[in-house]
Symmetry: D2
Subunit: 251 residues, 4 copies
């Protein structure tokens, strides 16, 4: 029986500002990635989000980022590997402790935004993240882009790496994502997105922009929580996978 | 044989800005309080400070604060008890995790600045801090002003409370500190400060501003690391106590 | 012919986080108060908000705050008068320059949140704000709570002070607002709020919590932009005042 | 008679943290660049620094940066040109207003750190900075690296561009600076630095790393205020230039 994890970001509000549809998205996912306070999230939002995730019994991840609240962690920053190590260690430590205080347990780490993208292509940054995680707790899982060097570096230090794929992003023939700056980067049709999710789970492949089949071995699919159609997409993907007999569960 | 802990703040640099004399102060103390990033400290400073404290084998504490980097946590802020709980939990969790990642272990918590002062007089704030600490790890010690409600509230939730006294602050007849805004709040003469430290340890008392003996039962003395004479004071106090046969050790 | 200014806060988004209904609220107001980056707002939000206000031809104010992004400037902070002077000067200077760069002109200053409340009751803080404004530009108007010491201190340094009243807040017999922490602080019924606005404009009075008439001489009414009914209230108040023949215009 | 401007950064403290030797450096410079709060500086530091510069009668510049307090603005960040425009406009507006409030006048803008370096090589970023400055006040001068695209873009929008050279940095044959990451980037010998300053002023040239003469037409020389030998270098350069009969004055 095929199994897949469905993950989504959670706790990306900040102070009085709300973002995402945390409560509404939770029924569709098996794991969540909690903002740690560097691109979003704050001590209050984090504690409430942990409590919510514990109550709903989804696997809890930390979602560390570059220190860029104004840019929501989406702008690349020239941090050195040592600076990345320190920033990831601090953020993951905070989330791990809050989880344990609220009766939960930290399950995984998934880097956010520009840090995720840089970790997918820069081995020294990927290695810095992996070292920070293994230093803190070698039983934690590390989520990264399928086929990227974050997966390689996580395994090199002995972590269990979880390969991630996207139902709503278009792929290039080499297995990388079409950059968001290019047309067609996002799948905006729900049926197309559902079809991509099903193909990833059943055939471990996607159809790339130019029609080729590309092998993508993934253990988790990312569901987005923002945008007007996020909930409809999440619901449609979950229903389609369950109808296929796929088991939805965190690794 | 009398025993006393000598504690000092550590890791209060931020980014490129340096503060304190961390390396030079360490030989004189048995425990340190590490800035957590809210009034000072940052992920790099924290990791380096933890490594230094582990290497020197001093007991490591977290030094949580109001979120006020610009004011160095010294200005009172109208946080609710719930906001204090969340802020303390986040900061202590971060330091605890970084300690464990670097091969150390978190030993205690001491609130910083305006939060320390408010926790000494406001039972709801003191209780919020105590609850955050006990939620995270009930074996942690909580340092607070001797005779204040932070000690009471820490004990109420089952924490071991450590009463703190000051060698370089003048006391009022009721056992509280002369506010810094008043003349004579600080002892600026090294010999007077040494005498106060010795009397606290040997007689559990200080001489208040108006000449009365005031009972102060303390298990730890705070040594300041800033100011031109900080190191000289720290050295003089340590030497005088050791000459008295007092054992310097963390609780 | 009676004249009143209707003011609302604008530009209180931050980075990716949205707040308020800036576009929708603008048709109902004659002046706006722009967040300056300390409790909300950022360089991008500010520039866009200035452009919007210039385009719609409403009077532009700066809305300076305590430096407390996480608390949205709503928590009191123990800044000294000198610190308040510096913070207000910096924020107002930034907004003034951005206004001029975008083809507009700064018209007034209205302190935000906890700073507004403290300036209403603490003459030294009120004076610090007034001094900062007059140093920058003595032709700027300073909005403050009707009857409060901010009005007195503004006039003392030669500024034109604009007294503000609230259509949706309940008053105490002494002319101060019922604190938000008490029941009945907010008028939640649109008709009651409209009636209070009309009475302020026509009779320069409100009915206090205990049924007494209280004199409130105001040149501006604050319209809130957040909350589910904000737009409906704003529209109802504007329509009722216009139906009464009141001219809506900035001072 | 040859004339040169000597400029230095000022006001790079933050809150309780001190940086630089502002008072001691001022006698050697004719212009200063004030941190605006994004990489360093804060409302209090800025106001005091402006007052100091006004008192000493040196030309005052704004020193805008990426929003990166933790990294001191030295890490590259992927801001878009529009984001750079907004950030520069906000920062320069704040400094301009504070100058005017304190009886001074803003004279120039010099981008800081990673933003300076990016503006030297990326025409779209350079153009964004130039547009922000000209929008605010077309009479302001814009300092940039001699021979870089910031000079070109400043002139394209009608600003007076001031070419800057460095007495303590080694040059490459193409007129760019040897990156700090490479050995020999910095001139550590005072006499060598003095010789380079004199050659820039008298011959409009430097000797590059490989011994070639490189033409550098500069109107201002940067003096660094940090580092153990900063004051000695500044003093030596000023004395040598004055001994040569060079007039030290802001453009």
């Amino acid at each position: 029986m095929a199994t897949i994890d469905l993950n989504a970001d959670l706790g990306e509000s900040f102070g009085d500002w709300r973002l995402g549809q945390d409560e509404a998205l939770l029924p569709y996912v098996s794991s969540v990635n909690l903002a740690c306070g560097f691109h979003a999230g704050d001590p209050h939002t984090l504690r409430k989000s942990v409590a919510l995730a514990v109550e709903r019994n989804v696997a809890i991840g930390a979602h560390p980022s570059y220190p860029d609240l104004l840019g929501f962690g989406r702008r690349d920053m020239g941090l050195t590997p040592d600076e990345v190590f320190d920033c990831v260690l601090y953020q993951v430590a905070a989330v791990k402790g809050v989880c344990e205080a609220m009766g939960g347990r930290l399950h995984h780490i998934k880097p956010h935004g520009a840090l995720y993208n840089r970790a997918a292509r820069a081995p020294d940054i990927a290695a810095a993240i992996a070292r920070a995680v293994v230093k803190l707790d070698a039983t934690l899982l590390l989520y990264g882009l399928a086929g990227s060097c974050l997966i390689t570096e996580a395994e090199r230090v002995g972590l269990r790496a979880i390969s991630e794929a996207f139902a709503d992003r278009r792929y290039q023939p080499d297995g990388t994502l079409v950059p968001r700056s290019q047309a067609g980067a996002l799948l905006t049709d729900a049926q197309e997105s559902v079809a991509q999710a099903r193909r990833i789970v059943r055939e471990q492949a996607v159809t790339s922009r130019d029609g080729q089949a590309v092998v993508i071995r993934a253990e988790t699919l990312c569901l987005h929580g923002d945008g007007p159609h996020a909930l409809a997409f999440a619901q449609a993907i979950r229903q389609a996978l369950e109808a296929d007999g796929v088991r939805i569960a965190a690794p």
